[in-house]
Structures are given as structure tokens and as C-alpha cells.
């Protein structure tokens, strides 16, 4: 009889906490849904999808087999984060000590995740912008393989951004640093050798054209303006 009484007492004691957990969970789910709805409306108002298309996010998502629009993706990510947070807070309500520790570590980790995401997004935008600048300049300077040079610049910037992002998250820090150094250093060395030996004639022709221009030689025998 006593064990049943003890069990009954335990259940009675824990019921308020369970009830609290359910309240927190339902509030959290409702909040998440409302927040997702508000974000979708806000993104539609500021034409976020159009901006994402112009920056190449939509193309990147399509290539990664994400069928959602950028606004839906961001809204769903926010919704998911709210759910996870709510779940952890709900578990805290029933006083599970392991959960409290996990929650503390989770909250401590969030700033690093946010900075890491910020670094990746900034790196991506910078790589697209710089790649486009390089492409346009190379095409207008009549440099062959303009697309290849542009792509190489984009890759370099993204590799750098990913390395910094992983370092921020503290994932295999030393391995990442070592791998990045080897890759980057090797790439620069290879490019130097390749262009130095293979691009001698090209560099000579390019420099000759620049020198001729500064000596008064004009490529076109008429004035454009």
C-alpha cells in the first residue's frame, strides 16, 4: 500500500509541473506559429524573396534541393528554434537537472551559432558581389577565362568564410585551421606557378596594352564622347 501511496504522492507533486510544461509547450507552439505567420507577411511586404533572388539565394537553395522560398525557409527556421527553446523550457519546468544543464549550454551556444550564421551569410554575399565585380572587370578588360577567374575568387572567399564560421562554432578548431592553411597556401602557390609559367605571354600582352595606352596609343581611332 505504501508504495502506491508514495507513487500517488509523487504524481500529485509532479502534476503541477507537468501542467506547467504543457502550458509552456502550447504557448510556445502558438507563439511559434504566430511568429512564422508574421514573418511571412513581413517578408512579403519588404519583397524579401525578390531581394534573395537578386542576391542569388534562391538559386543556391534550388541547387541544394530546397523547394521552399527563402522567406518560407527563414520563417520555418525561426519556428523550429522557438519550438526547440520551448521544449527545453518545458523540460526545465519539471525540474530535470540534466535538462537544466543542457539548457544552460544551449543558451551559451546560441550567440556562437548566430555569429557563425552571420559570417556565412556575409561571406556568401561578399563572394557573390566580388565575383560579379571581377567578372565584369575581366570581361571589359578582354581577359580570357573571365568566368573561371570570377568563380575562383568566389570559392576562395567562401572557403575562408566557412573556415572562420567553423572556428567560431569551435568545431575541430585545430583541424580546420591546419586544413585551411594547407589548402589556401597550396592554392596560392599553384596559381602563382601556373600563371607565372603558363601565363607569361598573356601577362606580357596585357601589360603591353596598358603601357601603350599610357603612351598615348588609343585602341580606337575615334573619340567615344
Amino acid at each position: 500500500m505504501a508504495p502506491f501511496l508514495e507513487l500517488r504522492n509523487h504524481i500529485v507533486n509532479i502534476l503541477p509541473n507537468v501542467f506547467m510544461m504543457l502550458v509552456i509547450l502550447s504557448t510556445g507552439i502558438a507563439t511559434g506559429l504566430i511568429l512564422r505567420h508574421v514573418l511571412l507577411r513581413l517578408f512579403r511586404f519588404i519583397r524579401f524573396n525578390e531581394a534573395a533572388y537578386n542576391f542569388g539565394f534562391s538559386a543556391a537553395l534550388f541547387k541544394a534541393n530546397f523547394n521552399q522560398t527563402p522567406s518560407m525557409l527563414v520563417s520555418n527556421i525561426v519556428y523550429g528554434l522557438v519550438l526547440v527553446l520551448t521544449l527545453l523550457m518545458g523540460l526545465t519546468a519539471i525540474n530535470v537537472s540534466v535538462t537544466s544543464a543542457v539548457l544552460t549550454r544551449f543558451f551559451g551556444w546560441i550567440p556562437n551559432v548566430m555569429i557563425s550564421v552571420f559570417i556565412l551569410v556575409t561571406g556568401y554575399l561578399l563572394s557573390k558581389f566580388t565575383g560579379r565585380s571581377v567578372l565584369l572587370t575581366a570581361v571589359n578588360a578582354e581577359v580570357p577565362s573571365a568566368r573561371l577567374i570570377s568563380f575562383a575568387v568566389q570559392v576562395l572567399i567562401m572557403v575562408f568564410a566557412v573556415a572562420v564560421s567553423l572556428e567560431q562554432l569551435g568545431i575541430a578548431k585545430n583541424t580546420i585551421i591546419a586544413a585551411f592553411s594547407i589548402l589556401f597556401g597550396g592554392l596560392v602557390l599553384s596559381l602563382s606557378i601556373a600563371f607565372g609559367l603558363g601565363g607569361r605571354d598573356l601577362a606580357k600582352e596585357f601589360l603591353e596594352r596598358r603601357v601603350k595606352r599610357s603612351d598615348g596609343y588609343t585602341e580606337h581611332p575615334f573619340s567615344h564622347l
Binding site: N54, R132, R147, R213, F222, L225
Partner: protein, 418 residues
Amino acid sequence: MRKMVLNADVQGALAEIRTADIVVGIPSFNNARTIGHVVRAVKAGLAKYFPDRRCVIVNSDGGSTDATTDIVLNTQIHDYQTILVQHPLFPIHKISTPYDGIPGKGSAFRTIFRIAEELQAEACAVLDADLRSVTPEWVELLIRPVLDGNFDYVAPFYLRHKFDGTITNSIVHPLTRALYGKRIRQPIGGDFGFSGTLASFFLSQDVWESDVARFGIDIWMTTVAICEGFRVCQTFLGAKIHDPKDPGADLEAMLTQVVGSLFDLMETYHFRWKTIAGSEVVPLFGFQFETGVDSVSVNIERMVNHFMRGLFDLSNIWASLISPKHMRWLRTISDPGPGPFHFPDELWVGVIYDLAVSYHQRVMNREHILQSLAPLYMGKVASFVTDNISATPAAVEDGIEKLCRAFEEQKPHLIERW
């Protein structure tokens, strides 16, 4: 807007001169080789055609390190009779001063406008400091329409080689004509005449910390004069021969600056050009003549290759800026078959209007939009040269007139999409 303050030396000179009827401005930067001739031509022109007027020559200098300013101040005409000119009634004053503000022709002009305003000048003119073909008659041709014709703005009309001024012929002239309804043949000529009233108006505008001060002053002056209701005309000056400003001047930079200024002005004056349909003739003064045409050797193949390379490497960027219909058309013309390469006028107009709309809507970084125009422009120039290799100047002008009409006809589509 910060009001412009003239330095103490200039203020002292202005206090001494007090008023002037005519101010002729010459902006300069390291033009020691040519500015002496320009100053002599201006002095002779003022003495010959306006001997009874109070005249001032203003050199607005960008910090020359050669002897430009010394040459301006020391240049004299020792014997007016040898150039068949009488001594002027009033001495022709000269002021040489460094200009204040962002480095560029616009800032130099601002100083000239300010001095003209202080002296309450009735008529003004500005001339480039590197002109080799300037004559005393240019002074009369730029000033007389203002003084006697009651015009406020006098744009130049030069005699040019049929292949010269391709940016003007293919973009600036037809676009300005279609947008603002005035047929000014050379809106960015470089040498202008204007009234003191217009100079004060220019001065009152808050543009002197922008690209107008750096490189957009010419098209800005022309557009403002038209859109703000001032009376505009043109004057025939003959051939313009000058030292190339920079032989290594990058075509991409020139195109970016000129077209960027045009597109920026479209945004400023959208309320005006949306209501204008067609265009009207602008009076042209001066005795027109023609000369023989020198043949030039043009590397058409290289220009076509530049266009093709643009089509191959930049098609993703172009597809974001140009309508699908025009993109398909561009791909079609890239394969002309056995015939020569040809870039139709209608396609060129469509592309320019598409880029203007994309620029306005900031579809991507504006500098990138302007840079992407360069291969398209080279394609159009290649086609223009191919079509007109044996044509007379009159036939070339007919072709440009046809292009202008195409710009006017497609304007409703631009208005719809803006």
C-alpha cells in the same frame, strides 16, 4: 547646402572689378601646353565682338603643377592689329584661382558661376582649356545668342568625324531627345554659353557634393536648362580639336560616368519626361559648313569579339537586367550567318530602356549595371561602323535620326515599366 566662399585674393579682385557684362570661364588642370592659345582666342574674341562690354576671364584651376595659372595671367595680345581687332574699350580682366570642393570639372564650374553671380554678369561662357581649334569667333557664337537672342543656354554643335562621339550618337543625344523633347545634337559638348540668371540657378542647386561635381556637369547643365524651362539653343562651332584628356582613358569608366549621370537625371526629372511625347527642333546659330572625311581603320572584329565575350560570360547578369524578349534577340544577332554583324536600332533602344529601368529599381549594384553595358555598347558601335563604313556624313546623320525616332517610339514602354 554649404554656401561657396571665394578666397581673399578673388574677393579682392572682384571688389576692384565690381561688375561685368561678360564672364568667360576656363577650367583647367595641367594645361600649360594649350591654355595660352585658348586665353588669346578668348581675349581676341571679346575685343573683336564685344569691345564696349566689361569682360572678365576666369581660370578655375584644379591645382596645376605645371605653369598653367602663370600662363593664364601672363598671356597678352601685344598687337591687336595683326589679328584685325581693335583695342577693347574696357580692359579685359583676368582672374586665376584654385577651385574649392570635390576634384572635378563641376567644382571648377561652380567657382566660375559664383564669380559670374558676384559680378552680376549678363552672359557667360565656358571653354575647355585644351582646345586647339578654338577661334575668337567661338566667343561670339556662345555669347551673342544670350546677349541679343535672349536665350539662357547655348549648347555647342561641332563638326565631327562620322565615327566620333559614338556614346553621344548612340545614347546621350537620342535618349536626351526622347526624354526631354529637345533635339540638342551634342548635349555633352564641353563648351557652353549661358545667362547670368541660369548661372545663379545652377549655383542654387544642391549637387556640388555629388557625381555632378566630379564628372556629370555637362549633361547636368543641359538637362537642367531644358527641364527647368530655360530657353535653349545650339551654335555651330566647327571642328573641335583638343588634346585627348587621357589617352589611356578607360572606355568602361567613360561609359559608366556618362550613362550613370543620364540615369540619375532620369530619376530627378521623371515627373517631367513622363509627360513629354515627341521632340522639337532647337534653334541652331552659326554658319554651317562641311569638310572632307578622313578614312580611319577600325578593328571591327575586336569590337564584335568583345560583344560575343560579353554574351558568353555575362548572360546571367544580362538576364537579370534585360527583358527575356531582348535577351533572345541578343542571342539571335550573335549568329548572323554569312552576313555581317548587325545590331538593330530597336534592340539597342530596348536594351538601354531595360537597363534604365533596372538601374531605377536597383535590381543589382548600380555600378555593376553600368559596367555590364560596355560589351553591348561595343556591339552597337561595331554594327554602326560596319553599316556606315562607306557612308557620307549626311547618310550617317540620317541613320542617327532613325535611331532617335526609335527611342521616341519606344518611350511609352519605358514609362509603363518605370
